[in-house]
Amino acid sequence: MDEGTLLEWLVAPGDRVHRGDIVAVVDTEKSDIEVEVFEDGVVGELLVDPGELVPVGTPLARIEPVGDGAPRASGPAPEPAVVTPAQGPPRGLPTTERTAGRILSPVVRHLAEELHVDLRHLAGTGTGGVITRHDVEAAVEVPPAPPAPSDPTSVPASATVLAAPDRIRSSPYARRLARERGVELLVSGSGPGRAVLAADVPDAPAAPPTERAGGMREAIARSMARSKREIPHYYLQTTVDLEASMQWLRAQNDTRPVVERVLPAALLLKATANAAARHPGLNGRWEDGHLPSSDVHLGVAISLRGGGLVAPGIADADLLSLDELMAALRDLTQRARAGRVRQREWTDPTITVTNLGDLGVDAVWGVINPPQLAMVGFGAVHDAVVAVDGVPLVRPVVVASLAADHRASDGVEGAGFLARIADLLQDPVALARPADAHTGGATP
């Protein structure tokens, strides 16, 4: 990538930061990535506003040494290969909630400044937990608490009532649940005065990374071994021209507020889902025989911060509009990382997509998740020289790969499935529409 849009600041001027802390979220058109700092210090001035598109290398903020000294510019937008979502456990942040993709629009930011509302302690009621203007205005009705004496540069008012600004207000029951589950309390919750209530406490404990990865690693290991043992895999790939899709996407996103922008991954998922609806050999389960599914519940591989990979499903992905799919993807990702996936979402996927494009690999050869019939992979969207009408052109392309169960389908069906995905991605307008049942958008 050569440019990126700053989506969200996770720190504010005056915050103490430590080496390795995640301080911002940046949109790279493929996925959101987290930006970390490499020194200890105090956040000084934020140089880029959320929503701004900046070239790689632009300083994003100043980090000042603790106590005194000349300010140093720091935190340029990193190369995607250096920073990944699965970088390691976030340090210095008490909750997973805060690091979920929350977006602060310029309106919200300005309003908060005007009304002296501390956005760090605000829970958003917008889609995906986004802070809306209404949230900011509602927070003003709560009388401001005095600023913490150790934090003279922080915004003077806080949305929490009666407590010191950095104290978590929570119900006794919520505290007890958090203790029992071994999770950290959220900074703010859904209760009055942003108090954390029982419903805000995450279900599953956020185990220390090694512990959690250990448990999950074992489970993945078992599943992978079973898959390779039982499922006769065959593999196909194709390279898809994404010129039409990327152009359309850019045009769309230009006119949309940041909260409504669509990632390329969503298009890829939508095309996969729509194609899967027409290919029963690849969409369904194998349990003592082929059980095709008339529904497409699209499993999406999501990497977890502590390590490990999970693949919960988006229900009826073929019937959703692109916007709906995007919203579902955001929500599912956030909840998967917070450990709040519903039971149904684990057990229903009929086909899974793994997208490691942001890691820079060209193609992915996946291992099918039993009892599914196929695993679709997408590599990095990259520029390549393509022959178009006999003329070499530079186009964005992506390599789509298929690992499929040879008991349920053969190469002919698999090739047809990949070809359909490629076709669908040539007509993003049709792809974006909510489908009638199983027409998939493009003509068969």
């Binding site: 119900s171 006794p172 029951y173 919520a174 505290r175 007890r176 859904s190 209760g191 009055p192 108090a195 209530l197 029982a198 419903a199």
Partner: protein, 326 residues
């Protein structure tokens, strides 16, 4: 089973008591010839005669004290104080004698008296006729305070109260006399020391007694329509309070609102709230809410009185203020 009113159920209870035990007699202002200020004792004078259904002069202190003395002397008096408002004139006898004789005498003097009083507001009777002081009386060791809210309880709590060797104050909310309900004729004397869950629920416990039970049940129905499943606890007794039922419920629902027609400050709702904090603090997902009467002597004007008293809307608002998504 039969359909009857709270008033008639209480009358049946009185009649059965008078009939079954010669030691029982009813004494109070206008209980005989008038038939009872609220019609509860209508017909009893004709049935049992003036010795057993005694009209008294307007001397609350004397006839309550006489009831105490008669109880000491082996009788089982039912003393009716026309309303809790007038009981203040007999407060010395109730507190310094009825509640205290057993203890002062080192256990020698039982006072098996039942004192019935009408309580509550809602009929535009203004400041001196609208008190709910049962919470006050619940403060006093040595007394039992019971508050029947249903037709069954009106019929069957009295006998248990009469059988108790110690003083029992029985409060009848004035708005309940016309309450119609199914009476279980075969129930027999019921306990006077347990609360009852009148409506099971999972999201919040609504705790109340007496005249406000109907309001709270109606609020629970409305809350249900909005997706909040409320459990309603009818206290039935204010002294002793049934900690087990109250705390057990709140431990399950994690939220509580107490609805009490007394004034908020220093009321029985404050006591219950304190007990909930003491007992199940670590199960609470919200502060304990309270809906009480406004802190003002009861005004006469209808709209003001309505606004002063706990209403369905107040209960719903209190639940919503707990701040949870249903």
């Amino acid at each position: 089973m039969s359909t009857t009113t709270y008033r008639e159920a209480m009358r049946d209870a009185l009649r059965a008591a008078l009939r079954d035990d010669d030691r029982v007699f009813l004494m109070g202002e206008d209980v005989g010839a008038y038939g009872g200020c609220f019609g509860v004792s209508l017909g009893l004078l004709e049935e049992f005669g003036p010795e057993r259904v005694r009209d008294t002069p307007l001397s609350e202190a004397a006839f309550v004290g006489a009831g105490i003395g008669a109880a000491l002397g082996g009788m089982r008096p039912i003393v009716e104080i026309m309303t809790v408002n007038f009981s203040l004139l007999a407060l010395d006898q109730i507190m310094n004698n009825a509640a205290t004789l057993l203890h002062m005498s080192g256990g020698q003097c039982n006072v098996p008296i039942v004192i019935r009083m009408t309580t509550g507001a809602g009929r535009q009777l203004a400041a001196q006729h609208s008190h709910s002081l049962e919470g006050w009386y619940a403060h006093i060791p040595g007394l039992r305070v019971i508050v029947p809210a249903t037709v069954d309880d009106a019929r069957w709590m009295l006998q248990t109260a009469l059988d108790d060797p110690d003083p029992v104050l029985l409060f009848e909310h004035g708005g309940l006399y016309g309450l119609k309900g199914e009476l279980r004729d075969d129930l027999g004397p019921v306990d006077i020391d347990r609360a009852v869950v009148r409506r099971s629920g999972t999201d919040v416990t609504l705790i109340t007694y007496g005249g406000t039970l109907g309001t709270v049940l109606a609020a629970a129905d409305e809350l249900a329509a909005g997706g909040i499943d409320a459990e309603v606890v009818d206290l039935r007794t204010l002294r002793p309070l049934d900690d087990e039922t109250i705390l057990g419920s709140v431990a399950r629902t994690h939220r509580a609102v107490v609805v009490d027609e007394g004034w908020r400050s220093g009321s029985i709702s404050a006591e219950i709230s304190a007990r909930i904090t003491e007992g199940v603090f670590y199960d609470l997902d919200a502060p304990v809410g309270r809906v009480c009467s406004a802190e003002v002597p009861m005004p006469y004007a209808r709209h003001l009185e309505e606004a002063a008293l706990p209403g369905v809307g107040d209960v719903i608002r209190a639940v919503e203020e707990l701040g949870f998504r249903g």
